[in-house]
Subunit: 196 residues, 2 copies
């Protein structure tokens, strides 16, 4: 009799701005360890192997490797913590959109628990057109006021899949290292998979 | 003899932060007029009809309408001008990723002609690990140095389709109203379609 093949672990694409940190590889290692504890295999962008694109420039090799990892992944966990401004890292957001376009399950967290509007109002003066009207920033540009963590296109991408962005108030010095929200996403993903 | 049906004009999804401007509807009207001149039909988010989702909250209705427009579109032109920080509007970036995930042709422009790294170095001090090494910002976070307009995932999404982000140095007061880059995208899209 043939032995049953071991069931492969679902592969999770790990997106977030940690790739820009000095200890990004170590953070990726910690995330992959946590994935394994939840029955997943983590795919981390800094583990890419661009050898197949030897002639291409670095940005093209990185892009192609990330795309290949996203296509290979069964699902993704994305770090949408604000990065260099009031909103998430645009590279991570591009990936969130791409994965949603591919129809993959996506889970996300932010280490800033505030609404986007509260973050923007803390950054500068804002005024309201009238009672119940739109909020506008100092440049007279409207601020969304839907109670979301970020631009509604981000929040709704997660919410429409049934698992809104998990918000976690990390200590400022742990903003990019606190993995409590990440672990909550893994638990959410494991429960979603178990429920079929 | 039956008259031949008029060939429908390709539909272009019009993405960008103009939806947050006081004159967003007027800007959308100008963009749709330019689309018509290039043989396209423009689909502008502020024209959405959320009547089919009467019970849903505004953010969910807007999200669903934008998704429906993107799925219906034959191609898209996206405004990646920096918005509330060094990078593009995250809502627009989410849409860029989603459209790429759907395999749709995407064209994009930015009304800031600078490289991301030059924009970031203008915003605050940056240091280099060593000659030829990585640049880092004041928070010790790496800055990409690939000569791109924004995060490489954005630039490469366009470049891999054969038409890199069109950069246009708009006057600061025309940052969100100058449509020269937008028109250049339409010309690019018309040429790409003519070439088959």
């Amino acid at each position: 009799m043939r032995k049953p093949e071991p069931r492969p672990r679902p592969a999770v694409y790990l997106a977030g701005p940690e790739v820009f940190l000095r200890d990004g590889i170590e953070l990726g290692r910690r995330k992959k360890e946590m994935c394994a504890r939840y029955g997943f295999e983590g795919l981390f962008p800094l583990d890419w192997d661009g050898a197949g694109d030897a002639g291409a420039a670095a940005d093209r090799r990185i892009y192609r490797a990330c795309l290949a990892m996203m296509r290979a992944a069964d699902l993704a966990v994305l770090n949408l913590t604000p990065f260099r401004g009031p909103s998430a890292d645009v590279g991570t957001v591009l990936e969130l959109g791409f994965l949603a376009g591919l129809g993959k399950p996506v889970f996300a967290y932010s280490n800033d628990a505030r609404d986007l509007i509260d973050r923007l109002r803390a950054l500068g003066p804002a005024t309201r057109d009238a009672a119940g009207g739109l909020w506008r920033d100092a440049a007279d540009i409207a601020i969304e006021d839907h109670g979301n963590a970020d631009n509604l296109m981000l929040d709704m991408t997660l919410a429409e899949q049934g698992h809104p962005i998990i918000r976690h108030a990390a200590r400022p010095e742990e903003r990019y290292h606190d993995l409590a929200g990440f672990e909550a996403c893994l638990a959410q993903a494991a429960a979603a998979l178990a429920a079929g």
